[in-house]
Symmetry: C2
Subunit: 258 residues, 2 copies
Amino acid sequence: MSEWARVTPRDFRQACREGRYAGTTRGVALGYLQCNLVMIREPFAYEFLLYCQRNQRACPVLEVLDAGDPTPHLTAPGADLRTDLPRYAVYRDGRRLTDVTDASPLWQPDFVSFLIGSGIAFDQALEDAGVPTDKDRWVIRTTIPTIRAGRFHGPMVVTMRWLTPEHAIRAVQVTTRYPFNHGAPIHIGDPAAIGADLANPLVGPPVDRVRDGVVPVFWACGVTPQEAALVAGIDIMVTHAPAHGFVTDWEAKRLAIP
Amino acid sequence: MSEWARVTPRDFRQACREGRYAGTTRGVALGYLQCNLVMIREPFAYEFLLYCQRNQRACPVLEVLDAGDPTPHLTAPGADLRTDLPRYAVYRDGRRLTDVTDASPLWQPDFVSFLIGSGIAFDQALEDAGVPTDKDRWVIRTTIPTIRAGRFHGPMVVTMRWLTPEHAIRAVQVTTRYPFNHGAPIHIGDPAAIGADLANPLVGPPVDRVRDGVVPVFWACGVTPQEAALVAGIDIMVTHAPAHGFVTDWEAKRLAIP
């Protein structure tokens, strides 16, 4: 387990802000809610929020900031979304540019920031239930369609984990309790049934074969709306880099069904 | 139990459309998802959706229609929200006018329709668990603040039910499984603790005393956003009349956590 597993959210965000941490947030501040981030200009905000509403399983919106405000007053008072993530993805006119570790130079005065639930949020609960979360995990495109909202549409992105059958069953039980963080898996077994693009994961090396003794388990992923925004070709968008999320002050279990 | 308890959603909507039914939807088409309705003009749609997102417990949005479209393609294909509810509340410039049974004459070409989860959705589940749902139930204003979004703000509206202690506990268990229909109660016991306005319920006669052997149980209510829109004083808004909801084709248990 990383030395960052037990850091407080505030200290972790400060480390990001000062450039002392730029790696993945998997395994970081375990037990705290992590969110995916999307920052877009105000003219796109309604269609984007509508897209999230229509595809809530993949895009559970947890906080929307007022235009021009970089501080999530609800989930992390005092934080600054422009600096407090370890790494950002940058999109211009539908193309992904090079990642950055400080989004301040890209900030637009009418940026609306969306914090969207992440499956990383239930890692601690999975660990508590004996399900390992630190490896064999990918972010992958599928051919499952999402419901369109204006310019936003496209296929669902999933998180795939290889799990033993026993762990897969336990993982269904645990994640069912997190309806605001993607909830239960959307698929178990044959990746081809959902058109999972194993050759070109968005995060992780190519997945080149079926393994003995484990089954692939798929959850709807908060990277889905980024892909939709890519399709929409909007002028400028800044998001978390996949697997480099925003660590809030909320304990993840706060969003769990008892 | 009413003769309408076992009607199909389609037949019920047809009865509304033809003016053969104009009463409450409590006890109607039991087991099917009922929704609260809000129709507002497009310039208010983003702020309203944002208000719902920020107050999800009271305003769980289940479907948002494209501007100018009166058909909920997701939850009731073929239905028409202008005619298929038994009774509508009408608001102009922040004042509530006389209810109507047909909203067609009020329809605006840029109306955006919002369907919002309703506690009526879990009545069948409560009945199955032995909790009676057909009486001792009110819709009441409180002093619990909601989170503002633009022009929309105001206090939370709640549904209050008198239940025996045994039924209250069972009701907590059952409704916890419906996070997209207000979920678990927000309060049990002393109405004064949440500023519940027992003298002026929005639905039901005045509640004038504490009763022996029962405890008041309070759920966040989907009428909350109507009150916020009233405060916002927007030009024209048409909604369901309280306790006169829209009956969808979805079985309510579809939205339940297993």
